[in-house]
Symmetry: C2
Subunit: 200 residues, 2 copies
């Protein structure tokens, strides 16, 4: 996309350079495809800048994200760009498809969030992908106010991308960039199931 | 996203397996961010499957896509997944920002499309990214009917992802998957220009 000129220049006391390198909170939400894939596409840029990348995957099945995980992990190992650390919350569950014991999943999600908070405070990464993080928020497993506070207080220059449907209003209200992926047409509508290389 | 069950099973004479491995035409359009980044995120999955990938970049500035290009090219060179070939149409121009001589750009775009047609006919790649391809279509530089015919006639199992704003109706009508990226909030709205690692 073209780089545009800002529509207006805010009266915030920042220089253009300061404003330009502001740490961003980015939300990809909506019912359509591409929320997570776009976040992983962004991670390629972050990698190219040499930024340490932390991926926190809040949804897991055997198939999901294996291509992205393998590609980004391998890129991180080349030493040509930033290192990549890939976290899968609560290895072994897959809460959307097979709910299992809800309490365990909620505890896993809270544990994952506690790790993110520690990493934000320690400035462990420069670029975070909180993949499908809206679900534990939506279900009340993780406290939204706690998330908003940790994000607002994060030190340094740490960019955070949060993906998932139904992002809470409190989150989108404070985000710097919100993109809503709308579904126009999907192969499942015409009786096609997901296929390898495309959906995973 | 979870893999769902199809809402209906079409009466098309295909087995589930045939339908499942159907070559897909995918369009990412709309005014929001993430159209191209999601396409490059999908390319990570294609790479992981070992599929040959062809990227055709119909927009170029010194900064655009450099992270994606470097990451995907490096991944292609590892031999761990599919090979990646990156084409920049009309090296040296940047038609959106500095229009220059329109006729030259149109000729460049047509030359790029002619190459894609040859590659589709030869089944050179398994996964194509036609990045910002909607613009030469919109501006009439490339004939839409010619594109639709070449896509409809493509042999084998070649997936094609087309990105860019204002995808023509004729294209979205025949696409298997259309996602509309809607802009909800963008940093440029509040006076912030693009920054490295995020926009490129």
């Amino acid at each position: 996309m073209p780089q545009g000129k800002p529509d207006m220049v805010p009266d915030d006391g920042l220089t253009t350079r300061q404003r330009r390198t502001r740490p961003l909170l980015i939300v990809h939400t909506g019912p359509g495809k591409g929320k997570s894939t776009a976040a992983f596409g962004m991670a390629l840029r972050a990698w190219n800048q040499g930024w340490p990348i932390g991926v926190f995957q809040f949804v897991k099945s055997a198939k999901w994200r294996i291509g992205e995980e393998r590609a980004l992990t391998l890129l991180g190992e080349t030493g040509e760009g930033g290192p990549v650390t890939w976290h899968k919350m609560g290895e072994g569950w897959s809460w959307i498809r097979r709910p299992g014991t809800e309490e365990d999943h909620a505890a896993d999600a809270r544990e994952g969030w506690a790790q993110i908070k520690r990493d934000l405070a320690a400035e462990t990464y420069r670029f975070y992908v909180l993949d499908e993080f809206t679900y534990p928020l939506k279900w009340g497993w993780i406290d939204l106010d706690d998330v908003l506070k940790a994000l607002a207080d994060r030190p340094g220059n740490q960019h955070v991308v949060i993906t998932g449907r139904d992002a809470p209003q409190g989150l989108t209200d404070v985000a710097d960039l919100v993109t809503e992926m709308g579904k126009v047409r999907h192969p499942l509508d015409t009786g096609q199931k997901g296929q390898k290389g495309i959906e995973w």
